[in-house]
């Protein structure tokens, strides 16, 4: 069994400019990488001796609105061999080139990326099935974005019954 390597230093040595920065908070390491290099980086992290991040736990996105780049796409990797976690982050804004899909490396990325697309509107290239996953197919907008307001429904009482019924022609059918 090989020795664990420092993931941040290894990535800087191997990919150089593709690593845009790193953060450490509460003992969790985050490495920020360029979107176009994400597949090579992930493959290296998965396969290289001393890294072996073999489980893609989670993919999620954060909306840093109004900062630019606006979205932080986080990949939570876990190494069963060395029992440690790593967060890879890709910064992305509307209009950027689509982020390459991780599905070829980890099939589990399929639904996770669909969720990131559905909720945040992050677009992936090379994804086999890029549809919405939770919201209806004809839904407008991306609910988890900061500029998307929280919806609500007025409660229907006897005094406003007719007013609300007018907005719901399908309810009577």
């Amino acid at each position: 069994m090989s020795h664990p390597l420092d993931p941040k230093q290894t990535l800087i040595d191997t990919f150089g400019d593709a690593v845009e920065g790193s953060e450490e908070f509460r003992g969790e390491l985050t490495v920020i990488v360029k979107a176009e290099k994400i597949i090579e980086v992930a493959q290296h992290l998965r396969d290289a001796e001393g890294l072996k991040y073999n489980l893609l736990s989670d993919i999620t996105a954060v909306d840093y609105y109004p900062a630019e780049p606006r979205f932080g796409l986080c990949y939570h990797l876990y190494s069963m061999a060395f029992n440690r976690r790593l967060r890879i982050k890709v910064l992305w804004s509307d209009g950027d080139a689509p982020v390459p899909s991780m599905t070829k490396l980890w099939p589990s990325a399929n639904w996770e990326e669909r969720e990131a697309y559905d909720m945040m509107g992050i677009v992936f290239s090379g994804h086999p099935d890029m549809r919405r996953i939770f919201m209806p197919d004809d839904w407008q907008g991306y609910p988890q974005r900061k500029d998307y307001p929280l919806g609500y429904e007025t409660v229907q009482f006897s005094f406003n019954y007719d007013e609300i019924a007018k907005h719901k022609p399908f309810a009577k059918k």
């Binding site: 908070f25 736990s57 840093y64 986080c74 099939p107 996770e112």
Partner: protein, 418 residues
């Protein structure tokens, strides 16, 4: 979907072209059949809809369709203060409310660097394991019902009632307990708790043995589960399976052992493993897990008797003062007012914490921008990731086996859709 005016049967108005790339070419020439299963099908464990491509009774491809229970919990939590959104975590995975609350509290505590007193940590372990048994009982009852062991359902729900009574005793609620709070527990464990858990420890081992026999000595069940829904260890990891679905394939990975949280490192227990990675092994692993949970609870109860310290942290920047202090201390009144109106302002940062839920890795990603409301809360829910492997598991099986496979990955749609 509309109803046919003559027959009142639902008619699909969609275009088959929409399924291009998801089903094989045979579906377009009419050689195979597209069949919709769910979302109201009783054996899909909630509101799961599966679009099946069938050749005879064989499943050529299967496309799960989720989102019917999507309630926007993650979005709603961004509009509440940290502490006020704990109630919503209970409503995600309604069979594992304590576990959801635990992972959210652990994420908050990591973000705030808040210590939890030992008594609260042990109480959390005991209650999380009781919840695991509760969840496995429901899974066993319903999973057995799907596969021809109808009696397990009534037994499992009878036993579950005992556990729900304990949850009601500690929190006032049978299912949506909201008992774990940042820094500890909502209140101390009541005096009757010890006797009630002792009753569980006395009666459950024999009952679990009974259910083991009912299931594993039932020839119909064994025939319908052995060799069905196979997944290899490598594939299980690649598809992100966790929990009993992963350990059924023989991968020894349990977060309670690998990355212990809430003092699990001080407990002795084994991690049951399967060998074949089929539906039967996943069943056996869960039954064995219930026995291990009882072992943990027994150790926890012994330690709770000695551990009589505080049940909640006294860091007043995050934890409101007890009610009794409000009459005596002006500072307590200020803290109380501040924590229940504005909330607290944690440091900026992002944390990811995961625990071993009954269904697998239950993770919570919490991003804070320094304001009293979380900037982003995301739950990595095991049902969601495990269900995405259904396509792989169900391929080339009979449609009747599909029901067993869905049962064996143990999904809760509230957990999946959030």
């Amino acid at each position: 979907m509309t109803a046919d005016p003559q027959t009142h049967h639902a008619v699909w108005e969609g275009n088959i072209e929409e399924l291009k790339g998801l089903v094989s070419e045979k579906a377009f020439t009419g050689e195979s059949m597209i069949l919709n299963m769910g979302p109201q099908h009783p054996s899909t464990h909630g509101v799961l809809r599966v679009i099946l491509e069938l050749e005879g009774e064989e499943v050529l491809s299967c496309i799960p369709d989720v989102g019917f229970l999507h309630t926007g919990i993650e979005k709603n939590m961004e509009y509440k203060t940290y502490e006020k959104s704990i109630v919503m975590t209970d409503r995600m995975d309604y069979l594992n409310p304590m576990g959801n609350g635990l992972v959210y509290c652990l994420a908050m505590e990591k973000l705030f660097e808040l210590d939890v007193p030992m008594r609260a940590q042990i109480a959390r372990v005991v209650l999380a394991e009781l919840t695991r048994i509760n969840s496995h009982l429901v899974w066993m009852g319903i999973g057995g019902l799907d596969l021809g062991v109808t009696s397990t359902m009534t037994y499992a729900f009878r036993e579950r009632e005992v556990l729900l009574d304990i949850f009601e005793m500690v929190s006032g609620q049978r299912m949506m307990s909201t008992y774990f709070r940042p820094g500890g527990l909502w209140r101390d464990l009541p005096d009757e708790f010890e006797g009630a858990v002792q009753n569980v420890l006395d009666t459950f081992p024999a009952k679990i043995d009974d259910y083991d026999k009912i299931i594993t000595q039932n020839p119909v069940f064994v025939d319908r589960t052995q060799g069905i829904g196979f997944i290899s260890a490598e594939d299980a990891v690649a598809y992100g399976l966790t929990g009993a679905a992963l350990r059924g394939s023989g991968v020894n990975w349990d977060i309670r052992k690998a990355m212990p949280y809430s003092s699990y490192e001080q407990f002795e227990f084994d991690v049951p493993l399967g060998q074949h990675g089929d539906v039967y092994d996943r069943f056996i692993v869960r039954i064995a897990e219930m026995r291990q949970s009882l072992r943990i609870i027994e150790q926890g109860m012994k330690r709770l008797q000695k551990e009589k310290g505080p049940f909640r942290s006294d860091n007043r920047k995050y934890v409101p003062p007890p009610r009794a202090e409000l009459g005596r201390s002006m500072e307590a009144v200020i803290h109380h007012f501040k924590l229940w109106t504005e909330g607290f302002r944690p440091p900026k940062g992002e944390v990811y914490v995961s625990i071993e839920g009954p269904r697998g890795e239950l993770g919570c990603f919490l991003a804070s921008d320094g304001s009293p409301n979380p900037m982003r809360v995301h739950f990595r829910t095991p049902s969601f990731v495990n269900l995405s492997a259904l396509e792989k598991l169900a391929k080339n099986h009979m449609i009747a086996d599909l029901v067993g496979i869905i049962g064996s990955i143990d999904i809760v749609l509230g957990d999946c859709d959030r």
